[in-house]
C-alpha cells in the first residue's frame, strides 16, 4: 500500500484530484491530448463527449487502469502515478463501469466482502442508509434487478474508501422513474464529502446535477462550463456544439419530424391485398422469466417502437419471432408451452425452425449484442456477409458453392455505400470500431430488402454521426416497404424513429402511443407506462 492512503484518510477534509496534461497514444491514434481538469470533494463534475472523444481513455488513466504517456494525476497537490486500480482506490478514486463487474451466481454481500474484507456488513448497511439505497445483501446478483446491481457497484467502491467516484453512463440502465432518485443520491454523495464525475450522454441529466461540465472532443478538452445556480444557465445546444463542432441536435430534431409527417406509410406500398410485415396474434409463451403474452401488428412501411426497461420481454419477443429458444437451452426441444400465431408477410412461422423461418420470409436482425449475436469477430467482412439473416443464398452463392469474388465485391460496395471506414474488407471485423461494426451490420441486413426488420438498440455505442447514418438507413428500409420493429432504451431515438410506440412490461404490451398532432410523443407518459404506473 502506498503511503498516500494515510495521507488521504488523514486529510478527511477536502480531496482535490487534478488531471494535468494527460496524454496517451495508441499507435497512430492520439486518444488524449493534454487533458486537464479538476474535481474536488463536494461537487459533481459532468464529462460529456461523443464516442471516441477520449472520455474512457481519460478515466482509465485517472483510475489507474492505464498509464499516461505524458502528464500526471495530482492528488491534493501531489503527483501520483498509479500502477493499478488498487493504487487509485487507495488514493481515493473509484470507478463504476458501464458494464458491471459482478458475478451473477454470487451474493451481494460476498461481493462486498471481496473488496473490503469480512465484517463489512455493518458499514455497508450504514452507507446504504446514507445514500438511500436498499439492496438485499443476501441475494445473489442474478436475482437483483439492474438498478440494485448498480447500487451494489457503487457500494463496492464506497466500501473500499473511494471519495472520488467516477460513474460511466449510469442512467443507461435505469428507468425514467429511477433516474430522479439516482440523481438525488448523487447529490447526497456530494454533500457527504465525496466528489462525483458523471460521464453521460444524457445532457439534460448532466445539467440537472452537475456544478460544472467538461466537454471533450477528439481527445482534447474543448470546453468547460460553469453550471452553478448563480451563473448563466448553460444550454444543451451550447454543450452539443462543443461536443460536435456543429449545431447538429437542432437539425436532427426538425429533420425527423419532417420525415414522419410526410409519409405515414401504412399500406401505401401494397397494390392489391394488404399484408402486414408482422402479425402476432394472441401469442403466449409460458416460460418463467421469458414469458410473453401479447398481440402486435407491424405494417409494411411502418416503424413500431417498443419502449420498456431491459428485461421485460423485448429480447424474448425477438427470439420468439425468429424461432429461437431462450438463451441457455442446449437445443432441447420446446419445454415452454407456446400458443397463438406469429406470421411474417402472411406466412405462419410460429413453431418453425429458424432456418425455415428465414426461408419463408425475409427477416433482418440487428441484434441486442452485435459482438456476441451478429458477427464472427475474427473473420473478414466478406465471410461475415454470409451470416446475414435475410437470405444467405442471395449473396455469394453460385449454385451451392461459395463464390468468393462475388462476396468480396459485395463487401466492398457496402463499405463504400455505408461509409464504413477501415483498413480493408479482409481485416477481421473485430478490428473495426464499434460504430463501423454497427454500420456494417446495418448494411448487411438492410441491403437485402427485408420484409421485416428487427432492430435492437441500433445505435448503442455509436457516435452521433454514425447514428444519423443508421437512422437514415432505417428510414430508407421503411420507405422501401419493410416493417420495422424497433427496441431501444434511448427514448429520444425511439420517438424520432417510430410511427407508433408500444410499451412492454413483463412480457405484455401495457400501452400503445400514437403521435400527437405536432408529431411528438407523450414522453412522460411513455416513461410512466414503462414502470407500470398510470397517469391519473
Amino acid at each position: 500500500m502506498r503511503r498516500t492512503t494515510n495521507k488521504v484518510t488523514a486529510a478527511a477534509g477536502k480531496l482535490r484530484i487534478e488531471a494535468r496534461g494527460l496524454t496517451k497514444s495508441y499507435g497512430q491514434l492520439l486518444a488524449n491530448d493534454g487533458v486537464t481538469f479538476h474535481v474536488e470533494t463536494g461537487e459533481i463534475l459532468g464529462l460529456v463527449g461523443e464516442n471516441g472523444a477520449g472520455k474512457s481513455t481519460c478515466m482509465n488513466m485517472l483510475f489507474g487502469h492505464v498509464a499516461p504517456d505524458r502528464g500526471s494525476v495530482v492528488v491534493n497537490g501531489e503527483e501520483l502515478w498509479f500502477r493499478s486500480p488498487r493504487e487509485a482506490i487507495a488514493a481515493g478514486i473509484g470507478m463504476v463501469h458501464q458494464h458491471f463487474l459482478l458475478a451473477p451466481a454470487l451474493s451481494a454481500l460476498e461481493h462486498l466482502e471481496l473488496v473490503a474484507g469480512g465484517g463489512i456488513r455493518e458499514r455497508a448497511m450504514a452507507h446504504m442508509k446514507d445514500l438511500g439505497f436498499d439492496v438485499d445483501l443476501a441475494a445473489r446478483v442474478e436475482e437483483l434487478p439492474v438498478g440494485k446491481q448498480q447500487q451494489l457497484e457503487i457500494l463496492k467502491v464506497i466500501c473500499q474508501g473511494a471519495r472520488v467516484i467516477i460513474l460511466d453512463e449510469p442512467t443507461a440502465v435505469l428507468t425514467p422513474v429511477e433516474v430522479k432518485p439516482f440523481l438525488r443520491c448523487l447529490e447526497r454523495l456530494r454533500d457527504s464529502g465525496h466528489a462525483v464525475i458523471l460521464i453521460s450522454h444524457k445532457l439534460d441529466e448532466v445539467l440537472q446535477v452537475c456544478g460544472r461540465v467538461v466537454v471533450m472532443r477528439g481527445g482534447r478538452v474543448t470546453g468547460e462550463f460553469d453550471n452553478s445556480p448563480g451563473s448563466n444557465a448553460v444550454s444543451m445546444d451550447s454543450l452539443a456544439a462543443a461536443m460536435m463542432g456543429e449545431d447538429v441536435l437542432r437539425k436532427e430534431a426538425s429533420r425527423s419530424r419532417a420525415v414522419r409527417t410526410g409519409e405515414s406509410g401504412t399500406g401505401e406500398f401494397m397494390t392489391g391485398e394488404f399484408i402486414p410485415a408482422l402479425v402476432i396474434d394472441d401469442y403466449r409463451r409460458v416460460a418463467g422469466r421469458d414469458a410473453l403474452d401479447l398481440s402486435l401488428v407491424v405494417n409494411r412501411g411502418e416503424i413500431v417502437g417498443i419502449a420498456g426497461v431491459e428485461g421485460n420481454g423485448q429480447d424474448a419477443l425477438f427470439r420468439a419471432i425468429l424461432g429461437l429458444f431462450p438463451a441457455g437451452a442446449a437445443g432441447f426441444g420446446a419445454r415452454h408451452r407456446e400458443s397463438g400465431r406469429i406470421a411474417i408477410s402472411g406466412r405462419d412461422v410460429r413453431g418453425l425452425r429458424p432456418r425455415d423461418i428465414r426461408r419463408a420470409a425475409r427477416v433482418a436482425l440487428l441484434p441486442f449484442d452485435r459482438r456476441d449475436e451478429g458477427l464472427l469477430l475474427d473473420e473478414g467482412s466478406a465471410t461475415n456477409l454470409l451470416l446475414s439473416g435475410v437470405d444467405p443464398r442471395s449473396t455469394g452463392w453460385t449454385g451451392w458453392l461459395l463464390d468468393w469474388e462475388k462476396l468480396r465485391r459485395h463487401a466492398r460496395d457496402l463499405f463504400v455505400k455505408y461509409g464504413v471506414s477501415s483498413s480493408g474488407i479482409d481485416a477481421a471485423v473485430r478490428l473495426l470500431s464499434g460504430g463501423n461494426q454497427q454500420k456494417f451490420l446495418v448494411a448487411r441486413e438492410l441491403e437485402q430488402n427485408p420484409d421485416l426488420v428487427l432492430a435492437a438498440h441500433p445505435t448503442r455505442g455509436v457516435d452521433l454521426r454514425a447514428a444519423r447514418n443508421i437512422h437514415d438507413a432505417l428510414f430508407a428500409a421503411r420507405d422501401r416497404g419493410a416493417g420495422v420493429l424497433l427496441v431501444t432504451s434511448d427514448l429520444d431515438e425511439l420517438c424520432r424513429l417510430s410511427d407508433r410506440v408500444v410499451v412492454m412490461l413483463r412480457g405484455r404490451i401495457a400501452r400503445e402511443f400514437t403521435p400527437a398532432t405536432d408529431g411528438g410523443f407523450d414522453i412522460a407518459g411513455i416513461g410512466l407506462a414503462m414502470t407500470g404506473g398510470v397517469r391519473s
Binding site: A327, P354, R355
Partner: protein, 343 residues
Amino acid sequence: MKGRAILAGLIVGLCAAALVGENPLHVFGVMLNAGFGTAYDVGMTLVYTTPLIFTGLSVAVAYRAGLFNIGAEGQLVLGAMAATAAALGIGSVFPGLANASSAGPRVIAMLACALAAAMAGGLAGFLVGYLRARRGSHEVVTSIMLNFLVTAFTSWLVLERFHSLDTQNPETRPVGLAFKASSIPLFGGAPVTVWFVCGVVAAVAVWFFFQRTRSGFGMLATGANPVATTFAGIDTGRQMMLAMAIAGALAGLGGLGDVLGGAGRFRIGFSSDYGFTGIAVALLAGGRPAAVVASALLFGALHKGALDLDFETDHVTRDLATIIQGCVILFATAKWFQGRKSS
C-alpha cells in the same frame, strides 16, 4: 506450421535423451536415419503417415465446428473393425469375389469395406456430436468413454467371433486377397498402398469442403460464434453433429491402411495411438487440411524414427516420440493465442 513449437519439442526430447545418459546427437541421428535412411524407411514413414492424415483431418473437421474429437482413436479402431468384418463377411458369402485379382471387382470390394469403415466411425462420431449438440454433454468425456467401450467391443469381436484360425495372436482371420490393397513397389517392401493416396485425396476434399460449401461455412460459424450463428438461422446443433459424423468417418478410414493393406487383418492394438497423435497433427497444422498432410508426415517420421531407438540405444525407448509429441502440442497451443484460425 508452428516451427518454433516443433523445435522446442524436439529440444525437450533430446534433453530427455541426454538425461538418461544417451548422446542426444546420436539419438537424433538414429531417428533421422530410421525415418528417411532407405527407401524402406521412407516407405514405413509413409505407412505411419497414412492413418495420421485421416485422424488429423478428423480432428481438424471437428475443431472447425468448435469440438474436440478426442474420440478419433476409438473411431479409427471401430472403422477398422467394421472394414475387417465386412471383408470377412463378404468373403464368406462370395468366396469368388474374395479372391478376385482383377481391378474392377477389387475396387468394388475395397470400396465396400471403406464404406463400412466410414459408416462405423461416422456413427461413433455422430453419437458424440448428438450428445453434445442435443444434450450438452461434454464431448471429451463421452469420447473417452466411447474409446474404452470400442476397445472392449472390438476385443470381444476379435476373440470370440473372428479369431484367427492359424495363429495364437489376438487377431482376426486374414481378409481375402481382393480386399487387401497391394503395395506400391517403390518403397523396398514397405506396405505403402493406395490408402496413402486416398489420404491425400481426402485432404483435398476436406479443403474444398471448408472453402466452398455451405456446410463448410456453417461449421466455421458454429465454431467461431455459435450464438450469432443461431441468430442467423443456422442450426448449430446440426452443424456440430454433421462435423462429428464426418470427423468420425474420416478417422474410421484411418485404419484401412493397416487392416486392408499392410497386415491384411485386424490385430488388437494395431493402432499406435494414431487417434491421439491425430490431435497433435491437426493442432500443428492449425486445422488447415493442406498443412495436415505435412504435419502427418512429420509425426509419421517421428514415430518411425523412434521405433529404432529401442534397439539402437540402451536407455531411450520409443516412448520418446510420445514425449516429444506431448511437448510439441503444449508449446503449439501456448502460442496459439487467437484460438480460431480464419478460413
